[in-house]
């Protein structure tokens, strides 16, 4: 139990540094730290699939982000947006946060999984019938590719969309050379 608090505190500290430091490169490295601690946390939360995915995605995202910033002359932008807007958004977000604290009492206590509180929850069936019904020993795989395979089709499509989008955004010529009918 203690380990979660320690890791979460580390994450929060890394986040604060990432948000507050002026140097973009160190900020990105701090985000990398957040992601890596996050994946460690997933491991302790018994989610090895997510931990693997998080770690590799983190590596790739870091490579991409560092490539973005390192060759460009890193612009130091200090200060935030207009004062009024900043104060207003801080106040609003603080209110949301305080409201949120109350809300988490309605959830089952930490360490008690949600599905054990509900008699007809789908997760219980996944665990008991996942292997015989789908043949996959990894219940996560059984869920994402069989029970909820439609979601995964959507997920693959999201990635496809973003790649097409990135190709479009980064293409060299945007308009044909002959001018529009004038």
């Amino acid at each position: 139990m203690m380990i979660f608090y320690i890791l979460l505190l580390f994450m929060i500290i890394a986040c604060l540094i990432a948000v507050q430091t002026d140097n973009l490169l160190s900020s990105i490295i701090c985000v990398g730290a957040v992601g890596t601690i996050g994946s460690l946390m997933f491991l302790f939360l018994f989610a090895p699939d997510i931990a693997i995915t998080q770690v590799v995605v983190e590596v790739l995202a870091l490579v991409v982000m560092i490539r973005v910033t390192i060759s460009r002359d890193v612009t130091f932008i200090t200060g935030d947006r207009e004062l009024f807007g900043t104060v207003a958004s801080i106040v609003i977000i603080l209110v949301i946060f305080l409201a949120g604290i109350e809300v988490f009492r309605t959830l089952p206590a930490f360490g008690v999984p949600v599905f054990s509180q509900f008699s007809n929850a789908a997760s219980q069936t996944y665990i008991t019938e996942g292997l015989p019904k789908t043949g996959a020993a990894n219940i996560i795989a059984a869920i994402i590719l069989d029970y909820r395979g439609y979601d995964t089709l959507g997920e693959a499509t999201v990635l496809f969309t973003s790649i097409i989008g990135a190709t479009v955004i980064l293409r060299k010529e945007t308009r044909k050379t002959q001018e529009r009918s004038q």
């Binding site: 409201a99 949120g100 109350e102 809300v103 988490f104 009492r105 309605t106 959830l107 089952p108 949600v114 599905f115 509180q117 509900f118 007809n120 929850a121 789908a122 997760s123 069936t125 996944y126 069989d146 029970y147 909820r148 395979g149 439609y150 979601d151 089709l153 959507g154 997920e155 499509t157 999201v158 496809f160 969309t161 973003s162 097409i164 989008g165 990135a166 190709t167 479009v168 955004i169 293409r171 010529e173 945007t174 308009r175 044909k176 529009r180 009918s181 004038q182």
Partner: protein
Amino acid sequence: MTVPLPVFVALPLVTAFILPLCGDRYKRLATLLANAAVLALLVLAITTIGKSYSYQVGRWSIPLGINMVLDGLSSLLLITISVVSAASMLFSVRYMEQYTAKTKFLSLFMLMLTGMNGVVLSGDIFNLFVFLEIASIASYALVGFGCEHEQLEAAFKYAVLGSVASSLILFAIGLVYGNTGTLNMAYISQAIQTRGLNHGLTFALAMFIAGFGLKAALVPFHAWLPDAHPAAPAPVSAMLSGVLIKVLGIYAIARLLFNVFGVSDTVGWVMITLAVLSMVFGALLGIVQWDFKRLLAYSSISQIGYVALGIGMGCVLTAEGKLKWASMALLGGLLHLVNHAVYKALLFLASGSVQMATGTRRMNRMGGLAAKMPFTRLTCTIASASIAGIPPFSGFWSKLILAIAAIGAGYYWIAGIIVLVSVCTLIMYLKVQRYVFLGELPDNLRQCKENKGTMLVAMGVLALLCITMGALVLVPSLKSSLLDPAVQVLIDRFEYSARLLAGAN
């Protein structure tokens, strides 16, 4: 014959996967393929009228698997999406020739369509989120399609606010899961009926409204819309303003409020407040714009307010038990949704036609185009008359029904605001007529010509719809097959979950 529901998602999806393979060499083939797919979807969507069935993906019964649900509301939205996308696609055949990477554009367009169809048909809340993301990400890329200053900034702003909205929605989904232990909307609804709303679910509902409100650009979440919608290429603007904000925003809110969380007074008044703010601010800010498409974008904010007003009034009146007026308000809201999709798409296409001919969007650099572009002028006038609510045209009927519902339920001030905003809208579009089509023709525009071919066909079809759309309420058989089932789905509230759960067992 009932069409298997996955076809509505799989057909555009597979087309979108094939299109980039065509490359620039087979561009004509790709265009043909995309148009054929969109037309096929339109035909398939029309066959769903009056039907109501669900489909369990992978033959897993809910809540194990995901289900897709077709009912009156989904059917109405499917048809709206198909009509607007068919017209925009036809328009883009010629319009997008000015840009490179046309096959990629077509692919993104189909992906956006996939996302919207998926959202409308989904019966699972996380699945709804996934398809919402597909549609959103495709629209971020499409807004930035031109890669010019304005487009890039608008796309970034849109992407940031859209991602914040998505995070809020996902967090809310987590809260709902934590409180009900299921993700299927019918089961969530059942859990809420038996155990009532607690703090967690109320907070989740607030987050849902904020997230979907961001996607729908209701004031005060509207900051991205006046940048994003004008920046996109005209057919994309037509899709974004015409259907995207309604499907991702209004549809999702309506579905969650009525069929899942259950209506209450407070939520209804929140919706009405947001709606009235949107109507008034959109109209007032729109009047002072000089950019043609930006004016249309502000007008979209104002008009989405009408739709949200219908939903909000429906919510309050259902909670108060005045079912007759509630169904009237919902009818007005949904009719306005359809009407606005058609005429705003037409207006954006007309603005694209003007922009293509003149090369500018500033209204004070235009003028006298009536003689040069008679067809664009005609269609634009029809659309303006519809949006301003001039009697025989479509917009009049929906506003009338909304006003009658407001008066009937005793909220006279709402009816007053409806009329006032309508007057503002009229002023807005008189300004368009005055500065774009009438007045002096500037010297540098002497050469400009009317556009040809498919662009005019697309605009003509939409203009025809604008004129005849009044039939949706006036002809009883149309009304009872299209609009009434949609209203009924919302009015019946928990009938939705009862029907699906009965089908599951």
